[in-house]
């Protein structure tokens, strides 16, 4: 066989082989990334960030990891205590059902608002939405993955 043809053949196939080596390396990186994400401890279904809090409790910028049922209000027995003069003692409850969050107003005096709209009984809540309780504004976010 002509040595030149043999060389051409080898170079040709090594290009294809390199393409697959590249893909294999990439897939390796992807798998490492996914395994690292899976190894993390089970995170909570979401977190609440305090966007605005004139009374100072809770502090602005504070983040709360949420349980599937999280109560909010002025009473100290709530999971998130909102010490605001316009908040009721048992103001609202956040629940995680199926794959999405819902906010329920517990008959508060001044109402609960989602993105400025008043909640009648129960309203669905998306990540990035803002809940207002009294003068306190809280934003729902996905739990930090890393």
């Amino acid at each position: 066989m002509d040595p030149l043809l043999l060389v051409i053949w080898i170079v040709r196939l090594s290009f294809l082989a390199l393409l697959y080596l590249f893909l294999a390396r990439v897939v390796g990186s992807l798998l490492r990334d996914l395994r690292a994400a899976a190894r993390e401890p089970a995170t909570s279904p979401g977190r609440l960030i305090v966007v605005e809090s004139p009374a100072g409790e809770p502090r602005e910028g504070r983040s709360f990891d949420l349980d599937a049922i999280t109560t909010l209000g002025r009473d100290v027995n709530n999971a998130i205590v909102i010490d605001d003069p316009f908040a009721s003692s048992e103001h609202a409850v956040l629940t995680f059902r199926g794959r999405s969050w819902y906010v329920e107003d517990l008959g508060s005096t001044n109402g609960t608002f989602v993105n400025g709209r008043a909640v009648a009984a129960v309203a669905p809540l998306g990540f990035g939405d803002e809940v207002s309780i009294g003068q306190v504004r809280l934003r729902l976010e996905r739990a930090r993955s890393s």
Binding site: I8, R12, Y20, R62, D65, G128, R137, E141
Partner: protein, 476 residues
């Protein structure tokens, strides 16, 4: 409960002013090195295939391209971003394969300038590729906030519709399709940019109205639907897609827009009923179009039986199938395909619509599968970036950006292989063309920016910002 870092304006300011700390990106460096080696071997193989000489085919062009990738890598290292490290090498390899292919096709397919200094296909593509890398890197480094996308979603939608209308009215007809818009010396295909704008708008709309779309309070037969007014965008989207088919005769863009729209609606709401209605609308529209319009029926007829008129209307598809067949399992080798038969190209428009057929001929089934695998990686990265995003807007945006590239690649690949009717969309990162490369570079740049852990927190939803809030306060 944990106490997160405090985010006061002062700390935010300090974080901006703090000297930027370079951060090594080893995964990206390793993958880029491997991609560079693969491209060098490819170039060697191309030179051997074309004239049997040892050496690199157009070493200068490949050098400039690899240099641009290296600069993009170091720019991100110096900026200290913690963004995705896999996208750039994967897209870089696709771009490099494009460069090899364009250098190997007859250079007079595209010329820029005249006389001695005229640039051929390979050189023009090199310029676009370098520009695309610059755009993607700039976006990845500069974009620190998505507020400019999130807040002005209706402005973006207006820009998109304006672009579409401009193309409808002033667009130049090329080969029976009204795709190209000329503004003085600049000409481009707005539909490429439009796909990015569409995703931005959909991400804004769906993330804001997701709770309402999940509610089920109207019924249509066995299907439970969200409140009817919220279906209006779906119908509008359908009408726009049909308008594109009728006026622009651009089946590919219409298919791409509608497919991405349905996928994003499903991703945002998780409701199959919306997808079923969308598919029903799509099928009804397609049937209507195929019966009413000549150009749609032609495409379908060619798809069903290209061999009915192998030298006329079915020529492209038949030649494409022959190219894949000649390639076989391992291909004929780079540079060994049939560039010209009897003085003309075996596949017309090979550099824009049929690059996959050319690659299929020279790299074979094995090579084509590797290239499709690269597109799968791009999609996977987008979905992963979306899954770890902090809020709905970013999640839907990242998902949509990845899908718009992935779906486009598979639409044209399927068209080349006669799996779907042939539509004139480009193969992302590989086809010749400035609009296509730059629009896809914007997609990559945005994905890189979105993947950065440590971007500023998303702004509050639009209802609580700007003049509307002040107005509400004043009126309350």
């Amino acid at each position: 409960m944990t106490i997160a870092r405090r985010r006061s304006p002062w700390i935010a300011l300090l974080r901006v002013l703090r000297p930027i700390r370079p951060r090594p990106r080893w995964t990206e460096a390793r993958l880029l090195a491997l991609a560079a080696i693969a491209l060098l071997v490819g170039s060697l193989s191309l030179r051997l295939g074309v004239d049997g000489q040892f050496g690199l085919a157009d070493a200068r062009g490949l050098g400039i391209y690899l240099g641009a990738l290296l600069i993009a890598h170091f720019a991100q290292v110096l900026a200290g971003r913690r963004s995705d490290e896999i996208l750039l090498p994967v897209v870089g390899l696709l771009g490099g394969i494009s460069l090899l292919l364009m250098e190997r096709l007859p250079q007079n397919l595209v010329t820029l300038g005249e006389g001695e200094s005229a640039l051929g296909l390979g050189d023009v593509q090199l310029i676009w590729l370098v520009l695309a890398i610059a755009v993607a890197t700039t976006l990845a480094i500069v974009v620190r906030s998505d507020a400019w996308l999130r807040r002005y979603k209706y402005t973006w939608a207006a820009v998109g519709i304006a672009l579409l209308l401009l193309t409808f009215i002033f667009g130049a007809d090329v080969a029976g399709q009204r795709l190209t818009l000329r503004l003085g010396p600049i000409s481009g295909q707005p539909s490429e940019l439009l796909k990015v704008i569409l995703v931005v708008f959909l991400a804004g709309y769906l993330s804001e109205n997701r709770p309402l779309l999940i509610e089920q309070d109207s019924r249509l037969g066995p299907l439970r639907l969200p409140p009817l007014p919220y279906l209006a965008p779906m119908v509008a989207m359908w009408a726009i897609a049909l308008g594109i088919v009728v006026v622009q005769r651009d089946l590919g863009a219409a298919l791409l827009f509608f497919a991405v729209f349905l996928a994003l609606t499903y991703a945002a709401t998780g409701r199959l009923s919306l997808v079923i209605i969308g598919l029903a609308l799509f099928l009804a529209g397609s049937a209507l179009m195929a019966n009413l319009f000549e150009h749609v029926r032609d495409r379908v007829d060619i798809w069903l039986d290209p061999f009915a008129d192998p030298l006329g209307s079915g020529y492209q598809v038949v030649q494409s199938l022959h190219a894949f067949a000649r390639g076989g399992l391992l291909g004929t080798g780079l540079g060994n395909g049939l560039p010209m038969v009897g003085g003309r190209l075996p596949i017309p428009e090979v550099h824009t619509d049929f690059p996959l057929a050319a690659l299929g001929e020279e790299l074979g089934l094995v090579g084509v599968i590797a290239i499709l695998g690269l597109y799968f990686v791009v999609i996977q990265r987008g979905l992963r970036i979306g899954a770890s995003a902090a809020d709905d807007f970013r999640a839907i945006l990242a998902t949509g950006l990845a899908l718009v590239v992935g779906v486009q690649a598979f639409i044209i690949a399927a068209g080349n292989l006669k799996v779907l009717p042939l539509t004139g969309v480009t193969l992302p990162f590989v086809s010749y063309g400035g609009s296509s490369l730059l629009a896809n570079a914007v997609v990559v740049g945005l994905l890189l920016a979105l993947s950065d852990r440590g971007v500023e927190p998303p702004p509050p939803p639009s209802e609580a910002t700007g003049w509307r809030r002040r107005f509400r306060r004043a009126s309350a």
